[in-house]
């Protein structure tokens, strides 16, 4: 894989990896929670929630790292530079911020598990 191709892959992973990881944790976490609280559902869903949160968290951290690599590799690029360098730098900047938000929301999503919230209505 050439250096350019490597940066392309890293940039798209940086931009989309965190988003997909959070979406997966959010949707599957919701279904696991619903399953745990449904009639006849499993009483111990905490392990699944932790696995989901850790897996998503690792994926987001990797996306953040990828964004950092691309950002540094395109460090001297001006904001109006033509693609692909301008675009790589632009999306890397965006991903650097977005992935931090995804990491925070994953941690917040996990707070119900950490706090062992009950199934009863709030």
């Amino acid at each position: 894989m050439t250096s350019r191709m490597r940066l392309e892959v890293l940039q798209w992973y940086a931009l989309l990896g965190g988003a997909v990881a959070w979406a997966a944790q959010h949707v599957f976490g919701y279904f696991v929670s619903t399953q745990g609280c449904s009639a006849g559902g499993s009483s111990n869903t905490e392990l699944w929630q932790i696995v989901l949160a850790v897996a998503a968290g690792v994926a987001v951290c990797a996306a953040e790292a990828a964004a950092l690599v691309v950002y540094r590799a395109t460090g001297g690029t001006g904001k109006d530079a033509p693609g692909p360098a301008g675009r790589l730098h632009f999306f890397a900047q965006a991903a650097l911020v977005a992935n931090i938000l995804f990491l925070v929301v994953i941690v917040l999503d996990s707070s119900a598990t950490i706090a062992s919230l009950p199934c009863g209505a709030a």
Binding site: S38, A94, V105, A112
Partner: protein, 820 residues
């Protein structure tokens, strides 16, 4: 701009090529994005007036205790139609349909949208759905269960007239229109950006439109499926929402809000885009934190999909489930705040001129902060539960939906009025109209916070005296009429300014984007030469504009030989190919009318006549796709063509639709201790497995047909496609036989399980049928030779079949799930 005689000749040729016929017929057959944008503008203003009149009637009724202006039934219809109209027939279509259509191609340097005829179809379907819905008043059957139409209230046993059917069918048609429009916006943004406009050089308005369009494509399927479920239950007795048969009324709410919350951002995002157009112009500097604002626009749209259940905090969902949605609701504030700070710092660090458009943006920011602050309160579960269904919620969402979404639109109307008409508006009257509208908005919606906290619930048609609500309601009503007066001042200003005819020139505000580089109003062909772009503020790049004049003199990228516009690569907007765009056509309006009539027949349960009309619609599609001037020699291209991207977005929407049905299956299975219910035979495995394998394997010959056609081997392509068609037809025949056979042992009205089962299989078979129709059309076309158009059609159809095969495989696993 002084240009030489040859350049003038080129411009003259462009005018002749792109000019459409004048008069009413011209408007009916137009495919020009600017004229379609104007059609959307006038139609949405008509619906806005209707929705506004409904609001004023309600406010008059509520102005004092125990008033008798309208009765409870009429009030229910007014409040439902007000909500439905403002959301589906005003804000969404005016932002994406009017502003998006008119401005997007101008801002990216294109001559039209990617699919001009689909663009026209989108408008006619929108108009049809609006007239269909409003015709309900003629039958005294306007929708009356609130804009979110909760079940069981909207089920047949509680609402037996046609009211809810008008709602459901009208919104299905409206959703189809919005999906087509959104697909067009996405493909246009992906493929028609002027060469050089890589993502980092695309104006923020276009990012906002892209984010809104992506949200529409992925959010609407949930609403569409919800409405289909509702109609199947109301008309045919299915059991999606019926607890006694394994259904769940909360399913409606889940699906509605999976659409409904992203829809809030669909409404607000274009407003963000308008703000990010107006602020740099009047602050006279570039936007602060451009990449972060672009990211924030996309992120708001994305996070918006994860917060749906925060509308359901009071429904009794478990605490552990609600936390997911509280978390996402809090986090969505962050990207919104990034934008607010970016707007404020841009104004603060610039040298702002507070003309009317910027004043409206100032009002927008204030209202957005106000509505946002009350919004974040709802992320706190206990607060939400205490204020659910009170006027506090009404106050919150009106500050967002009116204050934050409509104020930028009003600013945008003033900002682009000179561009659209070539005439200048009256500045002082415009500023006065801002202050009146601002005061009216505040007076209408702010007291609702107080009256909500005092306990006044939403949707009540009257209230008793002595509750302490009267004075606030009176203030709100005075505010409502003040606001209406402010809006009338804007209309009066624009109409008077149009008649006054003070020339505006091409660029009265020194705007930053490409639309300000061309004459006002824009010529039919938009750009005499495809513009050079080296930043997100191309009108401020004087050297590039000089370069464009040089290109025009040399005849470079003028493309005056026909309806042509360049297409570029998605990532970096590298020039790829010259695309032939269709000219004006009667098919969109004819097809739109046929589909609307078919829907009316479904409403009246005349299914056979409706099917006949859909057959006619298919014939119209054949006429639509007749090529005026086939191009035998397909030029090699770097990237996938527009047609492929259009199909990809369509398939993404369809996959979301199937995902929603599969999600429904899983959701209902979790609500039922016995799934499938007792007495239902376990599904067969071997036969569906073999059938599915047979269909999935047909991906190979379909792909082979495309490969052969691309290499110019037409006969081989025909043989492979013909073979695939034969097997696919046999597959469908067998499946339909099994489907009918199963109906004898288990009716769809047996249980919620049976309802979902048959809906899923039926939807899959329908998609296979559409694929077969595409095959027939392609076989007929390829038999007459290979053209560029047909190759794109084959490529798109190949992609369609791969997607349908993948979906069928998923459906198979769901079908046999009880055996796993």
């Amino acid at each position: 701009m002084a240009v030489s005689a040859p350049a003038r000749e080129r411009i003259g040729r462009l005018e002749r090529v792109w000019l459409e016929r004048p008069g009413a017929l011209g408007w009916l057959t137009t495919v020009d994005h600017k004229r379609i944008g104007l059609l959307y503008f006038w139609a949405t203003l008509f619906f806005f007036a209707a929705g506004g009149a409904e609001a004023l009637l309600m406010r008059t009724q509520l102005a004092q205790a125990n008033a008798k202006v309208v009765g409870p039934e009429t009030f229910d219809q007014l409040l439902t139609m007000h909500g439905v109209t403002m959301i589906f027939f005003f804000i969404i279509p005016i932002t994406t349909g009017a502003f998006g259509n008119y401005l997007l191609p101008l801002m990216i340097g294109a001559r039209d949208m990617a699919f001009p005829r689909l663009n026209a179809l989108s408008f006619w379907l929108f108009l049809g759905s609006g007239l269909f819905l409003y015709s309900s008043f003629l039958f005294h059957s306007a929708p009356d269960a609130g804009w979110f139409n909760y079940v069981p209230l909207s089920l047949k046993q509680y609402d037996g007239g046609l009211n809810i059917d008008f709602y459901a069918l009208g919104l299905i048609l409206n959703g189809a229109s919005s999906t087509i429009g959104a697909t067009n916006i996405i493909v246009t943004t992906f493929k028609l950006r002027a060469p050089g406009m890589s993502w980092n050089r695309m104006p923020l308005f276009c990012f906002a439109m892209l984010a809104a369009a992506l949200s529409l494509v992925f959010a609407l399927p949930a609403l569409t499926i919800d409405l289909v479920f509702l109609e199947l239950q109301r008309k045919l007795g299915f059991h999606f929402f019926d607890v006694a048969h394994g259904g769940d009324p909360l399913l409606w709410q889940h699906l509605f809000w999976i659409f409904g919350h992203p829809e809030v951002y669909i409404i607000v995002l274009p407003a963000f885009g308008i703000a990010t157009s107006i602020i740099p112009t009047f602050a006279r500097r570039r936007m602060i934190a451009f990449p972060l604002v672009a990211m924030a626009e996309l992120l708001v749209a994305f996070l918006g999909f994860g917060v749906w259940a925060h509308h359901m905090f009071a429904t009794g969902l478990s605490s552990s489930t609600l936390v997911f949605f509280a978390a996402a609701s809090m986090m969505v504030v962050v990207p919104s705040t990034i934008q607010i700070f970016a707007w404020l710092f841009t104004v603060n660090l610039g040298t702002p001129i507070f003309r009317a458009p910027l004043l409206f943006i100032g009002g927008f920011i204030l209202f957005f902060v106000l509505g946002g602050l009350s919004g974040i309160m709802f992320a706190a579960i206990p607060f939400d539960q205490a204020t659910t269904d009170t006027y506090f919620v009404v106050a919150h969402f009106h500050f967002i939906i009116f204050g934050a979404a409509v104020f930028p639109l009003l600013g945008g109307m003033y900002y682009w009025f000179p561009k659209v008409t070539g005439r200048m508006y009256h500045e002082r009257l415009a500023q006065a109209s801002f202050f009146v509208a601002f005061a009216g908005t505040t007076l209408t919606f702010f007291p609702m916070h107080i009256v909500g906290l005092l306990g006044m619930t939403r949707r009540v048609y009257t209230y008793d005296a002595g509750l302490g609500w009267g004075i606030y309601n009176l203030l709100e009503t005075i505010g409502g009429f003040t606001l209406a007066f402010g809006l009338l001042m804007i209309v009066a200003n624009l109409v008077w300014s149009y008649r006054r005819n003070v020339p505006a020139g091409a660029d009265p505000f020194n705007g930053s984007t490409l639309e300000w580089t061309i004459p006002s109003p824009p010529p039919a062909y938009n750009f005499a030469v495809i513009p050079t772009v080296t930043s997100a503020y191309p009108n401020w790049d004087a050297a590039d504009r000089d370069h464009d004049i040089g290109k025009l003199e040399r005849g470079e990228l003028v493309l005056a030989g026909g309806h042509k516009t360049p297409a570029s690569t998605v990532n970096d907007a590298v020039f790829d190919e010259v695309v032939d765009m269709p000219a004006e056509s009667p098919w969109p309006v004819v097809l739109g009318l046929t589909i609307t009539l078919a829907l009316a027949l479904v409403l009246l349960s005349h299914y056979l006549f409706a099917a006949a009309l859909l057959g006619i619609a298919l014939l119209e599609l054949v006429g639509w796709h007749a090529e005026a001037s086939p191009h035998e020699n397909a030029e090699p291209r770097l990237a996938r063509p527009n047609g492929w991207w259009g199909m990809a977005i369509f398939v993404a929407a369809e996959a979301t639709l199937f995902g929603t049905v599969v999600g429904t299956y899983v959701y209902l299975s979790l609500q039922n201790p016995h799934w499938p219910p007792f007495g239902v035979a376990e599904p067969k495995v071997l036969e569906p497995l073999l059938l599915t394998l047979g269909l999935v394997l047909m991906s190979a010959p379909v792909q082979g047909a495309w490969n052969a056609a691309r290499a110019g081997r037409r006969q081989m392509a025909l043989r492979l496609l013909g073979f695939a068609f034969a097997v696919q037809t046999a597959y469908l025949a067998w499946q339909v036989h099994d489907f009918v056979d199963e109906l004898h042992t288990m009716s769809p009205t047996h249980s919620a399980y049976a309802s979902v089962y048959y809906t899923l299989l039926g939807a899959d078979h329908l998609h296979v049928l559409v694929g077969l129709l595409l095959d027939v059309w392609l076989l007929a076309q390829l038999a007459r030779g290979l053209t560029s158009y047909r190759l794109v059609g084959l490529r798109a159809t190949t992609f369609y079949w791969h997607a349908v095969n993948a979906i069928t495989a998923v459906v198979f696993f769901v079908q046999i799930a009880p055996r796993l």
